[in-house]
Homo-oligomer: 336 residues x 2
DNA sequence: TTGAAAGCGCTAACAT
DNA sequence: ATGTTAGCGCTTTCAA
């Protein structure tokens, strides 16, 4: 194995000079830097990761904890993981994959053995059992999603309030005056899952601001429930022409229900959704939607982490601005 | 930070004794082992991963290279990754995630820096550019999928020949005598993607063995193509009652096509598929199918790798036996 | 059954 | 701008 002393000898310098040339932590004269670079190339030198980690107390590895529970959207998670790995490489880090299954012990293990420098935790719940540990851990972490309190943590996610507002504003721009939010199953609100409530909040605020008639309808994740909601909406709000769906499971069934009730989408009813990009794009009627920007979340999470590793302070909460993608499911309100 | 010397002092033994107690590489008297264990617990000792890697030249980390190209089945990849991580943990290893994007340089980097002890490479192509590197690398690897030659490598995958046979035999058992294989797009065979040809091979061999009338039909991955194949099948093989589909993209469209042509599935036409479990199970008519057992592939890959790391020889090719799951799409041939 | 001590390959303080 | 050198925390020979 080629080591740093071999390179040093070959280049006629000391090992530390090679080390500094590699890390850039102190100025090296142009001339010796070139000699060192050539020696490295000729010998095919690669610094030993373990030795580096030991001497510098930096492994240059990040842990990524992926969710396992059912109900997660697999392609979204994958996209996110790929973004994290790609961004981590740009910052000269590698990514160690942990499953949720390993739980708190797994987090403690990779942190305490100095296997990783920092952690990214996906799918954080409102009262996630890992929160106390993450706060206490001697390594920085970034959480994807918001727990009840971000106090002492670093969290990042889509700004769901702004997403709710954005959908309403899009409908307003198209002339719609009576709108409804078809939301998550009731138990999600009862449980107090942060982002569902935030969508309601944004939706309602924007609707009020624009003096719309609006209503909110939790909905079970089943086609039959979608049908039921559609019927109720038409009965109770005959003037309804715009709907925001925040429940990916019923998006298609709801559109089907509207159409089988004689309404055309978007001719008679405009539908917008907050859901994974794929589902909006691949629907029978492609749906105008706000997606969770998983790639951006991944990149920004890595950036936050490297900043923390660099000693900079970062905000406890980072909210990503929503973007609405226009598709075939929304149109101007037709003349009454 | 608590280190091994702290534990040693606390337990009244030498550091080497603690090390040996931890690794089990030499016998330790019951009594001192207990004292050491207690000291470890009391002090909350965790061996430093980097120091370990440096001293033992083992990082206890495996690299997992995930595919990125479009056309991969994301949930299958995820399932596989989770299985790898879980199995790796059972063997006291962690998993470093690499993307295909990093290519050969990435493989070389993690191998040469001793970041990982061994590699698992997914989505291996017939003439994968990484093959020479993997053969030359100083670290063991396992490939998921089979290249043109497994010579000097360790490969694992579903036994696609047996899968083709199994589907035919299932249809034979139900009394079907005229069968067809609806396969991958023509270019897949031209490109010589190993597993597609192997399915044809198994299908044809089993059909011949049972003296069936059989035919093979490549099919583009588009609903319209499925419709076309269905029409041609009925025209050219009016006696056809059993179909094997090895093209997940057209599975549902093909069934739709049969039904819109007046055939009921499975009443008039039995359909079996070789495809991801999800797609077979979630189809409108749940499809009797052989799935790629991703979890098992992952586990076995890790086992092969740890065996190689332990110095044992392992076979170049490991073929996993296919299993057929009965669902609603196949039934006995109805009386003519 | 246990201990002593020499590294593993690198970084970073300290010197010049 | 560069060199010297003392560790980083662990494993593993060698010795007892």
């Amino acid at each position: 194995m080629v080591k740093i002393t071999d390179v040093a000898r070959h280049a006629g310098v000391s090992p530390s000079t090679v080390s500094y040339a590699l890390s850039g932590k102190r100025p090296i004269s142009e001339e010796t830097r070139l000699r060192i670079e050539e020696a490295i190339r000729e010998l095919g030198y690669r610094p030993h990761a373990g030795a580096r980690a030991l001497a510098s107390s930096r492994s240059n590895v990040l842990a990524l904890v992926m969710p396992l529970r059912s109900g997660i959207n697999v392609p979204v998670v994958m996209q996110f993981a790929v973004a994290v790995v790609t961004a981590a490489r740009r910052h000269d880090h590698d990514v160690l994959l942990l499953t949720q299954e390993e739980g708190e012990d797994g987090l403690r293990r990779v942190a305490d053995t100095a296997l990783v420098d920092a952690l990214i935790v996906m799918d954080v719940q409102l009262h996630d059992p890992r929160l106390p540990l993450l706060r206490a851990l001697n390594r920085p972490s970034v959480l994807i999603g918001f727990p009840a309190s971000a106090q002492g943590l670093t969290c990042i996610d889509l700004d769901f309030i702004a997403a709710g507002e954005l959908c309403v504003e899009h409908l307003v721009g198209l002339g719609h005056r009576v709108v409804a939010l078809v939301g998550s199953p009731p138990e999600v609100y009862v449980r107090g899952t942060g982002f569902a409530q935030r969508v309601v909040q944004g939706f309602t605020a924007a609707a009020d601001r624009h003096r719309l008639v609006s209503s909110v309808h939790p909905c079970e994740a089943a086609p039959a429930a979608a049908r039921g909601v559609a019927e109720r909406l038409l009965r109770e709000q005959p003037a309804l022409t715009g709907v925001v769906v925040h429940n990916e499971a019923v998006l298609e069934p709801l559109i089907d229900a509207f159409e089988s009730l004689g309404l055309r989408v978007p001719g008679d009813m405009s539908v917008t959704a907050i859901c994974p990009e794929e589902q909006a794009a691949d629907a029978r009627v492609p749906v105008t939607s706000v997606a969770v920007p998983s790639a951006e979340v991944g990149e920004r999470a890595v950036e936050l982490l490297t900043k923390k590793l660099g000693g900079s302070a970062v905000p406890e909460a980072t909210l990503l601005a929503p973007h609405l993608t226009l598709r075939a499911s929304t149109a101007p309100r037709s003349a009454p």
